[in-house]
């Protein structure tokens, strides 16, 4: 049986998986900050909107969101390529989880820091921009890393809407070669390497951002 050709297919799938992960993470990151800060807004309407988004996307399963984006949105006149639908569903879903991380991290920056900002007469925006966010980013990072890995893993289910990601190509290889172990063992290892790369990158980032800050938080 010619495995090597199909392994090459799986590697092509790995590229698609990587694309989905990167684009999904980018969307998730934007949504996390927009919605996370939205929940802390002074304006009730903004808070309500952010809360609705977060609860909706955390509440309904990502599967349902994916099927909706893929099958139902076109009926409502929104045309998306499968890749767009995948990125949209994954990004919005993980973004909703990220929003809670952003909110939690911003709130964890103690009241004292905000009070020091008031005493120094900084505006709310200046306090957020120069004092709160720079400190909040660091505690967000580990959870963001976990969220990114969650997103990576969730890309496996986009195979259900015919995106030729890694899991999909493994299914193809399985159907064409009759072997289950080889394709799935291969993609397991690749997924794990991707996950290691993500957590390694996050740790490196964390180290860079905490330089000189050691011992600030016990």
């Amino acid at each position: 049986m010619d495995y090597s050709g199909y392994i090459a297919l799986i590697l092509q799938g790995a590229v698609v998986t990587a694309q989905l992960t990167v684009m999904g993470c980018a969307l998730a990151l934007v949504m996390a900050f927009v919605a996370g800060l939205g929940r802390l807004s002074r304006f009730g309407a903004v808070r309500a909107l952010a809360t609705a988004y977060i609860e909706f996307f955390r509440g309904t399963s990502v599967f349902v969101q994916l099927f909706w984006a893929y099958f139902v949105l076109p009926l409502l006149g929104v045309e998306l390529t499968p890749l767009q639908a995948g990125v949209l569903a994954l990004g919005l879903n993980v973004g909703a989880y990220g929003a809670e991380v952003v909110r939690g991290a911003v709130q964890s920056i103690g009241k004292e820091q905000r009070e020091a900002c008031v005493a120094l007469n900084l505006t709310r925006f200046q306090a957020m921009r120069h004092v709160v966010l720079p400190q909040a980013i660091v505690p967000m990072l580990p959870t963001f890393g976990n969220n990114a890995i969650e997103l990576l893993k969730a890309t496996a289910i986009v195979s259900l809407i015919s995106i030729s990601d890694m899991t999909f190509q493994a299914q193809v290889m399985r159907a064409q070669t009759g072997s289950t172990l080889v394709p799935f063992a291969t993609i397991m290892v690749i997924y794990f390497l991707f996950a290691l790369a993500i957590s390694g990158a996050i740790r490196a980032l964390e180290r860079r951002l905490t330089r000189g800050l050691d011992g600030v938080r016990a």
Partner: protein
């Protein structure tokens, strides 16, 4: 010739077709290219229509018609057999690939299951079939209880489950089963074909309901090719019979005959 849909496809240079991950109806080569009886026919007909290429996406059976309706594909050429309800949901071409149903069973057919009715009559036999496919429906219609009809995601999973004793029968069209058994190279498995209480089914290319002009043009070229023998030359190497396709018609099949 002036149909705007056809012109649109010509301008875009390709047609999007949905195929299944099921040899020999469709086949994905190690280099990623797609062949198999259904896409080969489609590729040829679209070429003659002036559409240079087809872009195939592999899809679950259940997702094909919703995907077509949602505008994800221009046609489904996947061994999606014509049945009255499907004819109501999409516009089919004339018949293309015909096949009877088959069972894959343990060698020697220990439970002696020859028909869907046999399975229904047996107190515990379980059957695996693709979700939303013809076989699932045949089994349910024959009276097999829901909890003995196992929805199996794909052919390879079906064979694995049969080997592992998780199901007693796995049902697909004859050519699919024989292809799977060939790949499995397992002497403990055998085929029952054709299944007596299942009709011979034929698929056609499926289009959106409003794309009748496109479908008619497809039919015209298909008829030419059937006539000239080119049709047989494409599908027979894969084991399909051109004569079977030419002996029936959409009208007959969509009426449930």
């Amino acid at each position: 010739q002036d149909d705007p849909r056809i012109q649109e496809l010509r301008d875009q240079g390709f047609a999007r077709i949905a195929i299944a991950n099921e040899p020999p109806f469709t086949q994905v080569n190690p280099d990623g290219t797609v062949t198999g009886a259904a896409p080969d026919v489609a590729r040829e007909i679209f070429k003659r229509m002036g559409v240079d290429d087809v872009v195939a996406s592999i899809s679950e059976y259940g997702a094909m018609i919703p995907g077509l309706q949602a505008g994800r594909f221009d046609a489904v050429t996947a061994g999606l057999f014509m049945r009255p309800e499907r004819c109501a949901a999409v516009a089919y071409s004339e018949p293309i690939l015909c096949d009877a149903e088959a069972f894959a069973v343990k060698a020697g057919n220990p439970l002696n299951l020859q028909t869907f009715a046999d399975i229904a009559a047996h107190p515990s036999a379980t059957i695996g079939a693709p979700g939303g496919g013809t076989e699932e429906r045949l089994a349910l219609e024959a009276g097999v209880p829901r909890d003995r009809v196992i929805v199996v995601p794909d052919g390879q999973s079906g064979i694995n489950m049969l080997q592992d004793g998780r199901i007693d029968v796995y049902s697909l069209p004859v050519l699919s089963i024989s292809d799977l058994l060939k790949r499995a190279e397992d002497e403990n498995l055998a085929m029952v074909a054709p299944v007596a209480d299942a009709p011979v089914y034929c698929d056609g290319a499926a289009f959106r309901r409003q794309d009748t002009a496109l479908r008619d043009e497809y039919d015209r070229i298909l008829a030419e090719m059937k006539e000239s023998g080119e049709f047989a030359a494409i599908i027979e190497p894969y084991g399909f019979s051109a004569a079977a396709a030419m002996s029936t018609s959409r009208e007959q099949l969509c009426a449930g005959g």
